[in-house]
Symmetry: C2
Subunit: 330 residues, 2 copies
C-alpha cells in the first residue's frame, strides 16, 4: 500500500523549489529501537512496486525482521513528476532534481516515519546512485550500503549514452520541446530501441538469453522496449535523466569525488554486473577501492545492466540476497 | 584520382538489380606478374579517401611496392547510392546490397584492372566485414587477410545497436520514410549523438582522450558527431546499415558461419580493439579460433571501435602497420 508524504514547497539545489510529494511503500514493522530500517530508492522507470521481488519473508529483504521503505524518486511519474505536477512546474517546466535533492527529500520522509538510522540502504542502478549519496550525505546514519549495478557518479560515457536516448526522443517534433499535447510516440519508441542496445550485453544476445527472458527474437526485444517506452511520459523520462546526470557524490564537496567516497563509514558492498555497459565494472572497481573497507563483489552475469533488476533471474537474485544478508549480519 | 567502373545492371543476391558504378582509387603500380595487389574496401561513412593515412611510401600500405585498390562500397554516397542513383532505384527505392554483393562487384572491378589474386585484403570495421567475405568467397585468390575492428558477421548485439540509430533517424518525420525533400536534420543529428556513445569507450571518456582527438569537451564529441551526420544523406546511411546487417560469411552456405570461416585459406590476422563495443574482442576471438592458422592480435587501445580508424593515432596505426607488414612478408 503506497502512501504519500507531503514535503510542502521543497527547496532544490538549483535554487528552484517544487511542491513535492514522495510516494513510498513500507513493508514489515519498525522495531521499537528503530534498528531494523532499510531504504530502497527507486530506479530509472521503476516505482515502489518494482522492488517487490526483493521484499518479503525469506526474500532479499526479509520483512519478518526488517522495516523496508521503498521510495519513488521525484520525476518517476508516481512521486511529483512532470506528468503530475501542478501547472507551474509541470511538463518541461519541471526543475532539475539532483540525486542529492532526492536523498534530502528521502531524509525528511524517514524522519516522518520515525527512522533515524538505516541498517542498510540499497538499490539497483539509479537506486544505487541514491544509496551512495545517502552514505556520503549521512555517514553517521547509514550502517551498510549495497550498490547493485550503480555508481557514485554518472560517468562521462554514461552521460553520452543518455544524451543519445535524449536526442532520439527529441528528434520527434511531436515532442515540441516538452510541450506536447499527445505523446511523441515515434520519439518514445526510438528512445526504447536505442536503450535496448545498452541495457543488455553482447553475451546476452550471443547466448540467446533473450529467449530465457521471454523475448522470442532479437526483434522482439527491440519491439518490446519500444512499446514499453511508448507508454511512458516523455518529460518524466527526461526529468529522470536530468537526475541521473546530476549524480556525483563529490560535486561541491571539499576533496570532490574521491574524498566523498573515502568519507563513507557504512559497511559497503559494490556489486557491478560483469557485463554492464554503462555502470561499468571498471568504475565500480575504482569506487570500491576508495570506500574504506568496501568489498567489490562481482555479479557474474550475461544480462548486462539488467543483471541487477529485481527478480530478473534466480541466479542473480541469489547473489544479491547473499550480499544483503552479509551486510545485515554486520 | 578516383575512377569509376561501370558494372552495368548488376544483379543482387535479393533478385533485384542495380545500375551500379563502383568508384575506386588505385595507388602504386601493378607488378607485371600481378602479385602485388592489395584491396581495401571502404567502411561505414568512409570513402576511398578515408584510407589515405594508410597509403603511401613507408606507410601501412607501401605504394613503392604495392598496388593498392581502395573501393567505395555501394551505398556510401560515392559509388552508386540512394543519393545518386537513377530515379527508379534512388532514395528509399534503393535495393539492399549485401556484403556479398559488394564483394562480387569488387571482384568484377579487380578483373577489369587485371588483378586476379590479392596479396592482401584488409579493412577497418565494415571494410573488415568485406575482407572476410572476400577470403571466404575467393579462398584461392586471397593470400592474406587483415580484419581490423570488424567481424565475419553482424552479431545480434551489433544489429540491436544499428536498429537504435536507425530508429533515432526515423523518429524525425521529416525523414518521410526516405521520401524527404529536405534533409531530416533532427533525425540525422540524433543518429550521430546515439552513434557517439557506441563509437568510443568508457576508457576513452574516463581518460579524457577526447581532448587528444581535438574535442575540448564531452559535449563537443556529441555536437561533433551530430554535425558530421547532419551533413550526410539519410538514405545512404540506412543503405549502408542494410549492408552491415546482411554481413554473414555463412549465410546460405553449407555448414554456415563456422564452416565458412574454416574454409579460409588466407594467412589471417584478426585484430579487434580491446575496447570495441560492437565488433567485440569476444567475437574476434571466436573468429580467430575458426580460421585455420589465424592469429588473434589485440589492438590495445582506449579508443573503442575508433581505434582502427585510419590515421587516428600513431600508436594504433603502428600496430596495424606491423600486422600488414607481417602478412605481406608471408
Amino acid at each position: 500500500m503506497a502512501e504519500t508524504f507531503d514535503l510542502g514547497r521543497f527547496a532544490l539545489e538549483s535554487g528552484a523549489s517544487l511542491p513535492a510529494r514522495l510516494v513510498h511503500a513500507t513493508h514489515g514493522t519498525l522495531a521499537p529501537g528503530g534498528g531494523n530500517a532499510v531504504l530502497v530508492p527507486s530506479y530509472y522507470t521503476g516505482t515502489h512496486e518494482s522492488y517487490l521481488p526483493w521484499i518479503g519473508p525469506g526474500r532479499v529483504l526479509d520483512t519478518d525482521r526488517l522495516f523496508v521503505v521503498v521510495v519513488d524518486m521525484l520525476g518517476n511519474g508516481v512521486s511529483t513528476s512532470p506528468s503530475n505536477a501542478p501547472e507551474d512546474v509541470a511538463g518541461p517546466r519541471f526543475p532539475v532534481v539532483t540525486v542529492r535533492d532526492q536523498v534530502r527529500a528521502q531524509r525528511l520522509l524517514l524522519d516522518s516515519l520515525g527512522v533515524r538510522r538505516l541498517k542498510l540502504v540499497m538499490g539497483w542502478s539509479m537506486g544505487a546512485m541514491q544509496a551512495y549519496e545517502w552514505a556520503v550525505s549521512y555517514p553517521d546514519h547509514v550502517e551498510a550500503l549495497l550498490a547493485v549495478c550503480g555508481a557514485a557518479r554518472c560517468s562521462p560515457h554514461n552521460s553520452v549514452f543518455l544524451e543519445g536516448v535524449r536526442a532520439a526522443l527529441a528528434a520527434d517534433p511531436a515532442f515540441e520541446g516538452g510541450h506536447y499535447t499527445r505523446p511523441p510516440v515515434a520519439g518514445l519508441e526510438a528512445f526504447g530501441r536505442v536503450y535496448a542496445g545498452w541495457a543488455y550485453s553482447r553475451d546476452f544476445f550471443h547466448s540467446g538469453t533473450h529467449r530465457e527472458l521471454g523475448y522470442p527474437s532479437v526483434q522482439a526485444v527491440l519491439d518490446g522496449w519500444a512499446a514499453d517506452h511508448a507508454a511512458l511520459d516523455a518529460n518524466d523520462l527526461l526529468a529522470m535523466i536530468d537526475t541521473w546526470q546530476s549524480g556525483d557524490v563529490g560535486r561541491g564537496r571539499p576533496g570532490g569525488y574521491e574524498a566523498a567516497l573515502r568519507s563513507i563509514r557504512a559497511r559497503t558492498i559494490v556489486m557491478p554486473s560483469t557485463t554492464d555497459a554503462y555502470f561499468t565494472p571498471a568504475d565500480s572497481e575504482i569506487e570500491a577501492s576508495l570506500v574504506p573497507g568496501a568489498e567489490l563483489r562481482l555479479l557474474r552475469s550475461d544480462l548486462g545492466h539488467i543483471a541487477g533488476r529485481p527478480g530478473v533471474r534466480d541466479a542473480e537474485t541469489g547473489v544479491i540476497a547473499r550480499a544483503a544478508r552479509d551486510l545485515l549480519a554486520g
